[in-house]
Structures are given as C-alpha cells and as structure tokens.
Symmetry: C2
C-alpha cells in the first residue's frame, strides 16, 4: 500500500509514491492538464493531474472539484524548482472524499465581522494559519525557556475566592453555595509555590471583564507567569529579557516561512538581543513631556503613551519604579523612595504596547498587611497569602507575559483578535 | 563573590565554594556541631555547621533556627557517600534571611481538611513536591509527544455559548448582555482546527459543576485533547497508546527520585508498553457478569465497574463500541451496528479509572444534524460546527486525556486532590 505522507515532510519522499490527504486550495488548468494546489495543514503542494495517467471518470470528477473539497491524491513526488517548497506531485490516482459546498471565504475583501463569524473556517487561510503557527512556537519557546532553567510548572487555579487586582473587572460564577471569580492572574499562587519549588511558572488562561473595545483587549487571554524565590528586581529583569530574546530567536529559527507569509520585517526581530534598555518611570515621563503628550504626571501610561515611549527604542524597553499608587498592593516599595514600586513593565517596540508586567513582591508581613487594609481588601481572604511572609519569607519577584500581545508584536498584526484561535471580546462569544 | 548554586546541580561544584539559598527542612546536632538539612525547591542537602568555622554570633543564631526559616549558607561542596545525593556542604557562613514562626505542618498525622486548608504550605512537603514534579513531567511529555509528531497547539476558548455534553453540569457567568458557559471540552473547536491544520491539540483547564464527592472528581481539571483529520478509530487508538507509553517512559527516565519518594511500585510502570489490549464494550460486560457485578447491560461503566475490568489487565485497556445512547451526540456510529459508537475509553490499570475518552466523530452533515435535533440541542448554536461537514468533510478522530487522573495513576495516589497544585472541588475553593 502506498504510504501516507504529510506535505511538511515531502522532501523525504523524493521519487517515491505517496498518498497526500488534504483539501483543494486552488485549481487551474485546461484540456488534459489540471493543477490542484492541495493543503493538508502542514503545507501546500501542487498536484499535476494529467488525463492520460488516471482513469477517465476520475479525471472527469476532478474537473468538478470545488475549493476546500477533501481529496486523497496518490502520486510520485518529483522535484520542481519553480514550486514553493521545491516539490510537486505527479498524480496517478485521486480519491474524492467530499465535495465542498461553495466556500464562503474568497480572496476578495471581507468585513471583519464576517471573518470573525466564520473564524472556524478563516483559520484555514494562509495568514491566519501563519499567525497561529507562530503562536505555537512562542508558547513552546516560553515553556522550554523556563523548563531549561529548572523551573517547575505549577498550574494556578482558575476559580478563586479572591480578587487579585480589583473587583470591577471580574467574571463571577455561582459555585455551589457560594460565589467564585475567574482568575486574573496566577501570581499570588505562584508566590506560594516559589517558596516550595524555588523557581516556578504557570501558563493558562486569565480573564478580565473589561468593557474595552480597543484592539489590544480580550476578555480571555493567556499568560505565562514565572516567580522566583531569592530574586530581586534586577534579576527579574534579566530573566524577562532572556525569555523574550529566546522566544524571538526560536521564531526566527523555526518559522521563517510563516513570517514571510505575514510579510513581517524580519530585520526588526533580528535586532531583539540582550541587553534591553532599562529606564525609570521618571525618564519615560520625560519622553512624554518632550512629545507634548496629554499625560498627567503620576498616572499610569496609556496605550498612546506607550507608543511614544517605545519610539525611542528599537528593542523592548523596561520601565521601572512607577508610582506605587498606580500599581497593585503586593508590589514591594523602593526602600530609597517608598512612594515608588520595585516594578517593571516591558513595552514592545513598534507601538505594540505592554507585553510584560512584573516586579519584586512585598515580603514583610506587617507592610503587606498594612497594604491589604489600605486597599480595602478582605484580610481573611488573604491570610494564606500573608502566611508566605510568616514561614521563611524571602525576597522574591516574577512577571507575567501576555501571549496574545507578544504574538501580535512578533507577527506584526495590528489587532489582537487574530492572535488567538477563538477570540473572546466584549462583543464576541462566537463561534 | 561566591557563586549561587541550586542543589539539583550541586555535583557540578565539587570542591568549590557556593551559596545555597533555601529553607531549614530539619536541624540536629549538639555541642560544636549543627546539621541543617536545607531545601531550595530543587533538592535537599545537609549543611555541616562546625562552630570553629563561623563567627561565634552566627553559630549562636543558627542554634535558634526554626523549621522553614530562610537562610543563605556559604560553604564548600564535599562528597559524602552517606548523604542522599552524595554531597554535603561544609558551611563557613550563614546569613539568616527570616526566622519562621512555628510551622503548622509537622511529621505527625494531620487531617485532610487541615492539610488542604494549608495547601499553600503543604506544597513544601516532600510527597506533594514529588507528585507535582511528576505532574510537570507528564504535561511536558504529552506536549512534546504531539509537537514531535507535527501537531499544532490550538488553544480552545474557555468561554463558550454552547453546552457540549449537556447543560446540567455547566458553570455559568454573566457575559456583558448575555450568558457564557465555562468549557467542558475543547473538542468541537479542535475539530474545526483539525480541518485547518491537519493535526492539532489543545491543553487547558476544563470545568464540570458536578455535585460529586468522589475521590475522582474536581470541578476544575486539565485536559490535553488531540484531534486528527483523516483518522479513524484504530488510528486514534494507536495515537493514544503511543502517547501514554511515551508519558510513562519519560516519567521513568526523569523522575526516578520522585517515584521513590512516593514509594511507587516502578515495575508496574515499566510494564506499560505498546500494544495495549483493545476490547469491546460487550467483552468488558462479560467481565462484569463473571464478577457478578451490579451492572445493567447498556449502561455506561461506573468507577467500580472500571476497577473490575482493569483487574484483568496489567496495562491500560481500551474499550470500544459502547452503546451510542450513553455517548455524546457527535460520536460516529458503527456502520455495521448503528446502535454502537466508534468510541474508545482507556482505563488505567490498578483501579485508577478512566484516563482517556475519545473516538471518531460524525462527519456526515445530515446524520449530525439529526443527532443534534434528537438530543434537543439548539441547532443555530451548532451551525458553525455543522459547517465542518459542509466544506471538505473528512473522517476524523481524537481524544481527551485527563491530566489529574493520569497523575494519580502514575504517582499511585488514591485521591485526585493531590494531583493538582490548588484543587477545586464541590467543597473547596480555598486557598
């Protein structure tokens, strides 16, 4: 029996007969010749269908193949310099598995709503395909980076009784006789786990019920969150820039084809090498003043501010020492300037915004308790979290990398909705 | 400056001076000698503290160290045949970072509720530590298995508008002006993605609001769900047994120490080699009849039934061809016996129950529409899912592996609550 092959591995079968299982991507030809571009999810190859090489009724049937029809083509793999990938298939048999109805997505322009309503089909398009292949690479690289450094994966819970960063943007659900909230961050749990395992990370979905319509917001997004015991802000930044460099390197190594499909300016990515610039909040504010930006000293940066700041750098920039007032209660204050937090945000270049938020955590019991009270958070709900400061408290730090924003930046896609297979936004819960 | 080292890598520092950052696991000694077992999350090492080698006030302070106090010990790494790991540390300085309050978890027996209430601390105990290290290994192995086979990771959405396997056990949340449900399975989305990428998997948390108090149930648990286009039930089973063999092999290769801590009978795991037995539902029922089990022909198997069946095998057993009536609407029926589904459950040996459920999916539009109506499911909500059968429908199959049950089996832990860092059950939402 002829062996089944995937297009991605076709070069292993040069001169041999194989079966390709896939879908009709495009069809041209006339007279005795048909050219069918087949996609099988791992690549695209052209099948040359010459009338004299097949049974007449099969050639006849092939002429009626519609876009996205499912077929199994048996043929000989031959080199072809002109073909993308370098190979084509000289068909000697075609099995028609399913004739597709008229496919709704065509090369003509479609509206965004139409494409999003048909996300389950839009995934088959080459650009969407490329974005999600790169997403996979980014996730794999991030995990491998931490695994290689001896981190332990500790999955954080999704259901939580606590609100980590404020209650206004929480999704709530009935949980038997009580209420549960969907997590906004695994960080608090990672802090506990770091005291048990030294170096940990979680990777999972997080949720924000923000009524935001910007192109940077999803209600459901994925984060990787490392946390390290005996770690200060500077070591935390070393870890963050090392991870981002590693991720970009792996995408450049393994997904050149996909970057090409997306017409990404690869030189911009090749430039992403350590060290990354590190500036303080005050220095960042100077850039905004110089640009005459509509910004109030002491505020957090908005998307426009981030873009202005990022324009000064051709690498991700790390901004530290924000006013403690705009950061979460668990941030450690700078002993030199207690009104400032030992925090760091990493802003991607080219205007893609914040991709990392993190910093050193408060490790003193009394200070943390004071901050919890100051933020009107329920003390009893944070008792377990306070425990971490009772039993062998140590300086510790970590951060969260937003996967979708990282994908948007690396792929050069302006809208975050394309960076996740099935995006969820304020207005979108389908398909 | 003396280099920081982690205990897991201590053999690289033989004869050298290092700093170990960690916590006091145990302390013994008298007179001029103190022995402190230090854990740093990557391992445990004994520090030998000889009075004459340290400043007097430091030796004094060390005598007052409590369990879980945080310390940084500087010393020379020396070989010691008697030590676990083969090395100990001849201390010449100790920095005390934090003196722990009296640690609530002691070697004496604690009740389960107490340990679960203190899960954030219990994680530091050696058995819990071992279980979660093995969990990490299992997850990494499962991902690598699919990555190595050319699968694409496609994260499924958590918020869904549809109920995939019935509505009674769904968690619900307000989603702006509508309702959303938390996913019970990414499968339907994986089917769409398989038509775009050929071979895909998702890995994420899934949710069931089951009012179940058994030791096998969590409200929040993780699944890895592969789905393959142009794949039938037998190929699906090949994939499943290949994955399970790969996972067990990797745990045996990389986590011997942890299996030892758990006193796991490793010979039972070494036996997990392909091929696994494949039996039909009818054959499984014969085992139950022979055991005089309280079982009604035509029903699904319960936990007790699974245990009885598994006792006949020393490997995971795959059971196929259940009555279609006890399986989900999307299962393809056996063309030979339409009242049976082309499905497979994999039951772990040693009574650990079902770890995999899967099968071939209905790929005919009209049959699927009929099944959706028969199950009283809202047709409009499944229109996108039906689309997969309109545009190049192909035979396809997949399965879901429950991570926690797999961890329970491989670790030999009877209760599933220990197999996830922060378990969520009907009665437990804390910490």
């Amino acid at each position: 029996m002829t062996q089944r092959a995937y297009i991605a591995e076709i070069s292993n079968y040069h001169g041999k007969d194989v079966k390709i299982h896939g879908w009709v991507y495009n069809k041209t030809g006339k007279g005795k010749l048909l050219f069918i571009m087949i996609r099988d999810g791992t690549g695209i190859i052209q099948a040359v269908i010459f009338k004299n090489n097949l049974k007449p009724e099969i050639f006849e049937a092939c002429q009626n193949l519609t876009q996205e029809s499912a077929i199994i083509v048996t043929g000989t793999v031959s080199e072809d310099q002109r073909a993308k990938g370098g190979y084509e298939l000289q068909a000697n048999d075609v099995e028609i598995v399913h004739i597709a109805e008229e496919y709704p997505i065509s090369p003509k322009e479609h509206g965004t709503d139409f494409l999003m309503d048909n996300r389950h089909l839009w995934l088959r398009s080459s650009k969407q395909h490329a974005v999600l292949k790169i997403r996979h690479e980014i996730i794999r690289a991030a995990r491998n980076y931490f695994d290689n450094l001896g981190f332990t994966l500790i999955d954080a819970p999704i259901f939580t009784p606590n609100a980590c960063e404020g209650t206004t943007s929480l999704f709530e659900t009935d949980y038997f006789d009580t209420k549960a909230y969907l997590t906004q961050s695994g960080q608090l749990y990672m802090e506990a786990a770091a005291m048990a395992f030294g170096k940990v990370y979680c990777f999972g979905p997080t949720f924000r019920a923000e009524k935001s319509k910007t192109r940077r917001h999803l209600t459901e997004f994925w984060m990787i969150e490392p946390e390290v015991a005996f770690c200060d802000l500077n070591q935390d930044m070393d870890l963050a820039e090392g991870m981002v460099e590693y991720i970009v390197t792996k995408v450049l190594e393994n997904r050149q084809d996909d970057l090409e499909i997306l017409e990404r300016d690869v030189s911009k990515l090749e430039n992403i090498k350590r060290p990354f610039p590190r500036i303080t909040y005050d220095e960042a504010v100077e850039f905004l003043k110089a640009a005459d930006a509509d910004f109030v000293q002491g505020d957090d940066f908005g998307a426009t501010d981030e873009t202005i700041i990022s324009e000064h750098f051709d690498k991700p920039v790390m901004i530290t020492h924000y006013p403690a007032a705009v950061k979460a209660f668990y941030m450690k204050k700078d002993p030199q300037r207690p009104e400032r937090a030992l925090c760091v945000d990493m802003i991607a270049p080219e205007g893609y915004g914040e991709i990392i938020g993190g910093g050193q955590r408060e490790d003193d019991y009394d200070t943390l308790l004071h901050d919890i009270k100051k933020h009107d958070l329920p003390e009893h709900a944070f008792q377990w979290y306070l425990d971490i400061r009772k039993y062998g408290s140590v300086p510790h730090a970590g951060f969260g990398l937003g996967i979708e924003r990282t994908v948007a930046w690396i792929c050069g896609r302006p809208h975050i909705r394309e960076t996740i297979p099935f995006p969820r936004t304020m207005y979108r819960l389908n398909p």
